[in-house]
Point group: C2
Chain length 323, copies 2
């Protein structure tokens, strides 16, 4: 039975391969990093062996999430902040989460176009994550790639979403520091995004601050920040002009301040919190699918009670789950 004897050998050789590959990655071999990130992204069947090889090197990087509406200039800001970190001697990983690609068949904004300043810089590694091919979901893939770049020794991992909705929430949940990027002149209903984004922001940035209306946007965000409910610290509100670099140093200081105040705890707990989030999200999707598929016979009766005002949806959900 060759398959029975072959399996452990294959697993062993995968382990040995990965150990060597991780070693090369940690010495700065770009191709090794690229291959490891690809393995992580594509859900290699040897994932456990790979994670084992990465394990001892995890927990160094700080993960900074950038989110905000289209047109706010997130990519340019991420580039400018990357250059700033590089000048300070820090290495950087960039993960651009791009939920658009089931259509386009790949990240719309090529890494080449995205990163002109740092393309040939070995201290920067960038990967765009697209939806296609991520069997286990885009967010779990991003979390695995974070581990890869962390183990590669990157000092900072910048997680940027170019989409909206769920991917925005994901970035917020997965990052250690959350930067929300706005810009003046995006139309009046941009204000409507404040509330949701405010809840997740550690730092709010008015980018394109050289444009008309920047002061007004700044005042709005400052007002909103002062009203934040709960016990969380108020978000810092800053102006940047990413194209000229204005304000980037202050942004870096603000990020450092959040990091200094937060990352003293157990690094393992941060990874666990991420895993917990991924499980919770998957469970929510699963339960929602099951309910909507109507696999539960009692659902129509509950739906009718909701329709006639005798139950709230949340009460019906609790009834269903506690059965």
């Amino acid at each position: 039975m060759p398959s029975k004897t072959k399996a452990p050998t294959a697993a062993k050789s995968a382990s040995a391969d990965f150990a060597a590959l991780v070693g090369r990655m940690r010495q700065g071999d770009r191709r090794a990093t690229s291959r490891i990130v690809t393995e992580l992204e594509r859900l290699s069947p040897d994932l456990p062996a790979l994670m084992q090889a990465l394990g001892p090197h995890l927990g160094h990087a700080e993960v900074v999430g950038f989110t905000g509406p289209p047109g706010a200039g997130k990519s340019t800001l991420v580039n400018a902040y990357t250059s700033h970190l590089r000048r300070a001697g820090k290495s950087v990983g960039i993960i651009a989460v791009d939920p658009s690609s089931p259509i386009s068949g790949g990240a719309i904004l090529g890494d080449r176009i995205r990163m002109p300043a740092t393309l040939d810089d070995d201290g920067v590694f960038m990967r765009s994550l697209a939806s296609r091919g991520h069997l286990g979901g885009l967010c779990p893939a991003a979390v695995r790639v974070i581990d890869g770049l962390d183990a590669a020794g990157k000092d900072a991992i910048l997680l940027e979403t170019v989409g909206t909705g769920q991917s925005e929430i994901d970035v917020a949940e997965v990052a250690d520091v959350r930067v929300v990027v706005m810009a003046p002149g995006l139309g009046d209903d941009i204000q409507a995004m404040k509330a949701g984004l405010l809840e997740i922001a550690d730092i709010m940035v008015v980018n394109k601050a050289d444009r008309e209306g920047a002061e007004r946007t700044l005042n709005q965000l400052t007002g909103a920040a002062s009203l934040r409910a709960g016990t969380r610290a108020k978000a810092a509100v800053l102006k940047t002009t990413a194209t000229t670099g204005d304000g980037i140093a202050a942004l870096a200081d603000a990020i450092s301040a959040v990091v200094a105040g937060r990352l003293e705890g157990d690094r393992r707990q941060r990874r666990r919190r991420r895993a917990r989030y991924l499980i919770a999200r998957a469970a929510a999707d699963l339960i929602s699918e099951r309910i909507r598929a109507g696999q539960d016979g009692g659902l129509d009766a509950l739906a009718d009670k909701v329709l006639t005002g005798r139950l709230l949806p949340a009460e019906a959900a609790r009834t269903l789950l506690d059965k």
Copy 2:
């Protein structure tokens, strides 16, 4: 025991009140409509009695959802489409879902500012729904208000989100026809929104079509529409300039075509599908909360398996739910 004898009397009188109120609403009494909508929005304790009074009048309206990124001109488009419907003799209800208001303390864009053309038109009723005060959630409140405006006899109910993320998904799930609104010049990463929005769109609109880049945006959306996966019909792609009314008649035709192809089924099923969605969403929130609160002792072990690559988050979720 006065409370025991009083309760049924109170309920009875609420029923009688609501029957009279619904009667006045159906005769076009704006204040009656406003009061009923407020009762629905605020989760009146007499909700069952109110729903009973509304029940016989439900199922007439078609619900058209408008969603899209900030700056696309959704509000202006909704206004222009409303004027078009009015000229065709149809009555219109507008529900603007505005998740911003926990901060602002009310809808940011007042109804007066929003609806200059139709402010004094009795054939139009508009209500902005804000997060604050909706104990059972914003989406359930919107679904109740849909019932109210449906029972008022509105021919079309236009559901517009001025936020993003979950409220966008909600609009798509709750509407009978889904219109995604885009505009040229919103920056390159606007493209990244295509995929998610594409999946939900029946009709895609390039608004502000008099602006530079409109043809390019149209081509991109047309290309994206032709690639849509699955068995759903391709989305129609149209150009409009809401400020001048250009393209609005064609949009109205496209909406009618979708309605004609879809609403022949059981009207009751549409309401039930909405209720099912509300329950599924509430259940997903609930399960996610429970898991993240760590009420389940087995979670840390599962999280560790995810962290070491031995389980995917979805597999861990299934294990957790099936326990």
